[in-house]
Every structure is written in C-alpha cells, then in structure tokens.
Symmetry: C2
C-alpha cells in the first residue's frame, strides 16, 4: 500500500474513533484496528500519534464545506430563509452528533498546544468565510442587503451556531433548539433591509457566489 493511501485511511479511521470515543480513546491500537491494519503499520505512515493528530485537525478543517445550507429555489422572506438554513444545520448535527463533538474536541485540543493553535484559528476563519457566503447567498436570493459588514455578521452567525450546537449536544432538546434557531434568524434578519434595485450584472455576479456556497454538504 502506498504511504499516502495508508495515511489517508489512518486519518479517516482516527476521526471515526475520536467521534465515538473521544481523543483520549483514540489510541494507536484503536485507530489501526479501525483501519484494519497491524499496529506496526502505523509508524510506517506517521512518525508519532501527535503527528497524526495535527494532520487530522488540518484535514478536518479543510473538509468543512458549509456552516449552514441556504435552501435553493425558495421565495420567502430573509428570516424564513435563515430559519430553513439553520434547521438544515441542526438536522446535520442530529444525524451525526459525534461528528460535531469530535470537531469541538479537536479544536480545543489544538488550541491548547502552541504548535497547533494556528490550525484552530484557521478553522474559525474558515467557518466565518463559509458563514459569509451563506449570508451573501441568503441576502441575494431574498433581495435583501445587510446593514452591517457581512464579515461582522458572519462572526455572529458562527457564534450563534456554536451556541446552538453546544446546547443541543448537552440536552438534545429539539424544542429549545428550534427556539434558538428562530431567535438567531430574527436577530440576523434585523440587520438587513430590502435591497434597492440592482443592475443585471451585479445580480448575476452574486448568483454565482450563491451557487458556490450551496456546493458543500454538511454531515
């Protein structure tokens, strides 16, 4: 087996194990067993367990492709579109809670170590970038425009989804999550207004951004 292939399989297995048992449970034995290979094969691909963890965090960050899915082809007010997007995010979380737990644990692990801290910072930069795309897409599709810089609102959206995630992971209360979603959507929508008429060129430009934002899937 090629070294790159082995590395990829080990990283994938490591994420699975971490999602199920946490970082503490992600021993080299557990990871290689999950990957169906001998323990000794591990050090043929990685020099140490720490090296695998750092690589895993970096890969996990890049694999995150959307913060929330803005529904396509809807004709609804901005607030409803945001509610729909946040509900889609929650559905992804409910479908695989362990995944988000693992991301959370990996982020906190990375932040503690000065050598990997930058990876966590990069992860959040990426979250905000993806959130920004979603907000731009939502505004464009509903003919709205944001009253605050989209960068700033993107950070608020990330904070809102983090709060939603932590709360749901603890008590798994769907009704409370729904209330949080409505509150988040209302709060964000309050920072937008109906857009003035735009030129055709600007609308088509924005639509291509929106399509790109839709590309990723969560979960």
């Amino acid at each position: 087996m090629a070294v790159q292939e082995r590395r990829a399989r080990l990283i994938r297995s490591a994420f699975t194990v971490i999602a199920e048992r946490g970082i503490a449970g992600a021993t080299t034995r557990a990871i290689t067993a999950e990957a169906g290979m001998a323990l000794a094969s591990f050090h043929y691909a990685f020099s140490s367990r720490d090296e695998l963890l750092s690589t895993l965090i970096a890969e996990a960050v890049e694999s995150e492709t959307s913060v929330l899915d803005v529904p396509t082809g809807v004709d609804a007010p901005l607030e409803d579109v945001l509610v729909a997007g946040l509900r889609a995010y929650l559905e992804g979380l409910k479908a695989d809670p362990h995944r988000e737990r693992a991301m959370l644990e990996l982020t906190q692990h990375a932040v503690r170590d000065p050598d990997t801290r930058a990876l966590a910072v990069r992860q959040y930069e990426r979250y905000r970038m993806l959130a920004r795309r979603s907000l731009e897409a939502a505004a464009e599709r509903t003919g709205s425009e944001w009253l605050d810089p989209v960068d700033v609102l993107a950070a608020q959206l990330v904070a809102l989804t983090d709060g939603l995630t932590l709360g749901w992971l603890v008590d798994e209360d769907d009704a409370r999550a729904e209330a949080t979603i409505r509150f988040a959507a209302r709060s964000l929508a309050a920072r937008a207004r109906r857009a003035e008429a735009r030129s055709v060129q600007s609308r088509s430009t924005a639509r291509s951004v929106a399509d790109e934002g839709r590309r990723g899937e969560r979960g």
Copy 2:
C-alpha cells in the same frame, strides 16, 4: 487530615491541573503533586480517578454562581445594561481563560458517559436559571419587560455566551468579541419594551430577586 478535607483539596487541585493541561493531563500523580501529597493518599479519599472526576463535575456545576453580572446602580437603557453585563462576563473569561476551557472540557467529558450525562444537563439547567435571574434583574432595573417568556430568552443568552466564549477562546480577538457582545445585547433588547407602571409591592419584590442575582461573582 480529615477525609473530607483531603477530598476538597484533591478536587481543587484536580480542577487546577485540568485547567492547565486538560483532563488527559490530570493524572492521579499530577493531581496529588499539585495538592502536595503522596500518590497513595489519593485512594484514601477517592476509590478511583473516575470517582474524583464525577465529583469534580458536580462541584463545579454548583460553584457556578452567575452567567453575567448585571451592573448595579446604573441608569441606562436595557441594551447598555446588557452590554455592560456581557463585558463583565468577557473580562472574567479573559482573566482566567483556562477556567472556562476546563468547564467546557468537563461538560463534554460528562456528556459522553451515560453515568455522568445528567450532570452536564444539570449544569446547563443551572446556567439557564442564572441567566434568567440576570435577565429579570436587567429588566427590572431599566423599567423594561420581556416580550418572550424569560425561560426562553435565558436559553438564548446562554447560547450567545457559549458562542462568545468558544470564539474568543480560539483567537482571543477582543474586537470581535466586542462586536458579538453588541450584537447579543441588541438582539436580546429587541425582545423587550418599556414596562407599564407597576405597583410598589411588585417593584420591591423584583428588587430582592435582582440583589440575589448580583450576589455571585464570576472567575
């Protein structure tokens, strides 16, 4: 040394070690060293490391006394009072980031184990109860009344502080945190209006609740 005294010291030391090195770094050796006692003394107070961790989580939950400090004796609009309270929370977080990191890690650890999961749920119930007190105090002092059930808004406040906390812990960006605080305060204040005139009795009752809410300190 009395067993209860030893237990208390070990719990305290364990929290210190977890804050500095994480749960993974909180070995019985590290904990007893931090407490300045011999390794063997550990099992005189606790039957196992797991028992200490469960006890620690339970104690940590109860020691949380406020989600945000609503400033006393101010005469300002509700939104400004909320901003001040959230800033006080952020200052506590900045003064001791490791403390909140430890709480986060303990919660996630508790949630994974069916035997301790209830502790995490209870922790969030307590957060919401404290948030509710803060919101009631803030409304009372500014002559406002909430448009949604305070229980529901308390859950939103907890979600907002969770989002604020996670974001700040990763990049320690004070400017972004300030923007999140303003957004949070504005979003919550939008769910209140000026209260109608109240009777003297109802005001004095509410003031005693407010004083109770102020009792706790964070950090």
